[in-house]
Amino acid sequence: MSSLRVLWAGWVTHFKIVSRSPFAIGVGATWPIVNATLAYFMYQAGGSPQTLLYASLGSAVAGIWSMAALDASGAIQRQRFWGTLELLVAAPVKFALVLLPMTIAIASVGIYCLATTLVWGRLVYGIPLPLEHPLAFVLAVPATLVSVGVLGFALCMLLVRFRAASHIGNSLEYPVWLASGLLFPIAVLPAWTHPISWSLATTWGMRALLHGSLGGPVWLDLGMCALLTVVYGAIGVAILDRFLDAARRSATLSLT
């Protein structure tokens, strides 16, 4: 119960912090609109206007991933920079429970991306949002945010040794957009890339939103989001334990 309380309190605190960041809101809410606009123009000019909803939802998920890639990947480095890392590590609660809500909160700011792209699509291009499975669609939103947030946590752990983690994370923005089929179906990509696509929460989150809206095997997508959340979480926690152990032994926790 206390673990859940730590997760919830951490998420609320960090969601408020990130929501007040002009950069996160300014850039995070703008780029999905840019991507959506580009996709709208390209699909319309290419004679496929029926795919506009796809572009709209894809741009939103792209925005969620951008937040995670840029901000979550450097979560530990940021605490180190603020001088709060030692305090958090020394707290009498597992450090993973402190770090997880941070990265999930960062991805959760992607809710603004979803809202802005859907409103933009509706107002400017008249794109409706059909809800074939309303309950599943509503569930798909937090499922996507959490799974992408936990992917950000795993990424943060994979890059924990790098001082330039957020720059490396930032460079993964386009590769994941590309592999996840956010603005075009993954069938367009070479077959060898498909396993990469299936291992990404963004792929299944996008499908869950799309199938929740237009109909399709949405529960499979939600199940995959849940499964990947567990897998990413396990990978992240395993690396985090090793990192903390090594940092404590060599007294390098606060070194930048």
């Binding site: 002009p22 950069f23 300014g26 850039v27 703008t30 780029w31 840019v34 606009t37 580009l38 996709a39 123009f41 390209m42 699909y43 319309q44 000019a45 290419g46 004679g47 496929s48 795919t51 790098f162 001082r163 330039a164 720059h167 490396i168 930032n170 460079s171 923005e173 386009y174 590769p175 957009w177 590309l178 603005l183 075009f184 179906p185 367009v188 990509l189």
Partner: protein, 262 residues
């Protein structure tokens, strides 16, 4: 070497190295090599899915637009970075020639923009098997150099924002997005609404991109000289306006003692 030339060259190189944390490859490579290549691939596959244009259209379009990435961001950080490292006041209190200080910072950025552009172009062409006739390469090199200059000139508009606005990086992202949408990078300009087409004529990249696509289609450098000159003129105009604005804001900041406000 005269003082101004020393400030121009040595100061420019030092500022450029600082921009990438003393040329740390873990910052440079992901930001200016990996991300641009994947931008080309992403829009090429989006274009395939939309059935709009050939891969060549997207390779040329995105490779040239990527020149704006170092141009816009580096020129903004030329001011914001000084503020961040608390060296802005000493820099502006120095009696150094401002043109030498800031134009010196632009020179390595132009070279960097051209490098990033070439990397994205070559990688995109190789991965997507886009053929460019070898005879077109010298003319393309000229177009890339001129577009890099004009994008860096456009970046001069962003630099002064750092004197007035703590989050100038937001405006830079918006300007980068404007170039991506308006300049015919991924959407043929004639598919855009009329007002967007009109705006695109006054932005960098648009004319350079037209020239690059015509050269890739077999046109000679002389055939696109008008476009190249227009691209250069636009970039130099932005640079001039940006520099004058920077001087004005510097004076305002001195009067209001707001230089270090962040």
């Amino acid at each position: 070497m005269s003082n101004n030339a020393r400030i121009f060259f040595v100061g420019g190189v030092i500022a450029y190295r600082a921009l990438f944390n003393w040329l740390n490859p873990w910052i440079f490579v992901p930001t200016l090599v990996v991300a641009p290549i994947f931008q080309v691939l992403f829009f090429a596959f989006l274009g395939r899915s939309a059935g709009l244009e050939s891969d060549r259209f997207y390779v040329i379009g995105n490779a040239l637009q990527i020149a704006a990435l170092p141009g816009l961001f580096a020129m903004t950080f030329a001011i914001s970075g000084e503020r961040w490292s608390q060296t802005l006041s000493p820099l502006l209190a120095s009696p150094a020639n401002r043109a030498a200080v800031f134009l010196g910072r632009a020179l390595p950025v132009v070279a960097n923009a051209a490098f990033v552009c070439v990397v994205a172009f070559v990688a995109g062409a190789l991965i997507l098997r886009v053929h460019i006739a070898p005879g077109a390469i010298p003319a393309l090199a000229v177009v890339i150099a001129v577009t890099s200059i004009s994008c860096t000139g456009f970046g001069f508009i962003c630099g002064p924002l750092g004197l007035r606005w703590r989050d100038a990086i937001i405006a830079v992202n918006l300007l980068d997005a404007v170039l991506l949408i308006f300049c015919g990078v991924n959407i043929p300009i004639d598919s855009l609404p009329g007002w967007m087409q009109a705006v695109s004529e006054y932005l960098p990249v648009t004319h350079g991109l037209r020239a690059a696509r015509r050269v890739a289609d077999g046109a000679a450098l002389g055939d696109v000289s008008g476009l190249i000159l227009a691209e250069l003129a636009i970039g130099l105009t932005y640079a001039g306006v940006g520099f004058a604005w920077l001087r004005h804001l510097e004076l305002v900041a001195r009067r209001g003692a707001t230089l270090e406000n962040s």
